[in-house]
């Protein structure tokens, strides 16, 4: 069945439209607060304005990978497609957020630390390893297999990869002398006034972005599986038609995954 849809409303609903509206207002507000209303820092001057994007994307990369872990555990427990699709969707967004964390951190590090990257730095290296692990997770999901086998493998890797999250997060405390990275400003109460507000706004906006993307990505993942299933159904019908000697306009080429 062919359905006509607008250019970008295929995976939208009332909830995503509401979140999208919040983003349309929130992103310009964040830019205004980050660049104009919030003060510069006494020592790092305007470089502090990079932290209003770097810290929120870092926090939500942890959350995204955490959701992948929860989805993976729940999949192995319930064998539910809903959890597998959620885990996959969250991992893809988490990889993007983690990549942005590394890039924005590197850009902030150059004027602040006097270096783009330090290979001996525990926070940087553990974050990079986390990024690569979840790229491995996404790569594994691309390997041809039955949906069940694919989901099971991915769930195991998703859980293993998540072990790294507390290591990344606590590395600045556990190996203080092996990292240039500062400890948490929020938990130490070292943010105040507009600096604190802008950080909070950034976290809220990136949080809404994560949720909006997660819902859309989940639906895309759901549609992919539905399409795959429809493909199987068509292939089965085609073979049944072949068996009855009917012409269904087949190309004669077996559908991919027909045997699974």
């Amino acid at each position: 069945m062919i359905t006509t849809v607008g250019p970008f409303n295929a995976t939208s609903s009332r909830s995503t439209r509401f979140l999208g509206l919040c983003l349309l207002l929130g992103i310009p507000a964040l830019i205004l607060f980050a660049f104009i209303f919030s003060p510069e820092d006494d020592s790092m001057e305007d470089a502090v304005r990079l932290l209003y994007i770097h810290v929120p994307v870092a926090i939500f990369s942890y959350i995204a990978f955490g959701v992948t872990a929860v989805g993976s555990i729940c999949y192995l427990w319930k064998r539910s497609r809903w959890w597998d699709t959620t885990a996959h969707a969250s991992a893809e967004i988490g990889v993007m957020f983690c990549g942005l964390t590394l890039v924005t951190g590197s850009i902030w590090g150059r004027p602040t630390w006097n270096t783009w990257w330090e290979w001996g730095d525990v926070r940087l290296v553990t974050t990079l390893v986390m990024f690569l692990m979840f790229i491995g997770y996404l790569a594994l999901r691309q390997v041809p297999a039955s949906p069940e086998a694919r989901a099971k493998r991915a769930a195991i890797v998703g859980i293993i990869g998540t072990i790294n999250i507390p290591i990344v997060n606590r590395s600045v405390e556990w190996w203080e002398n092996s990292t240039l990275h500062q400890q948490s400003s929020l938990t130490d109460g070292n943010l105040e006034n507009l600096t604190l507000f802008t950080w909070f706004l950034g976290t809220l906006v990136i949080g809404i972005t994560y949720l909006w993307l997660l819902i859309h990505r989940f639906r895309v993942g759901w549609l992919e599986t539905e399409e795959e299933r429809l493909g199987y159904g068509a292939a089965i019908e085609e073979r049944q038609a072949e068996a009855h000697g009917l012409d269904v306009g087949s190309t004669g080429i077996p559908e991919e995954g027909e045997n699974e």
């Binding site: 062919i2 359905t3 990079l50 993007m96 924005t104 895309v220």
Partner: protein
Amino acid sequence: MSHLGYLLAGWSISIGTLAVYAFFLLRRGKRLTEKVPPGRRRWISSTEEQSRITDG
């Protein structure tokens, strides 16, 4: 404003990446939706929603 180049690079890469990802995600959703009947899209809950999508 000090460190302007770093600021512009960091913010534009972040917002640009998010925007590009969102664009391709929505486009992917649209392409797949055209192949899957509305009954198999569980987030379409109301008839109003269905008719909105069907009418474009």
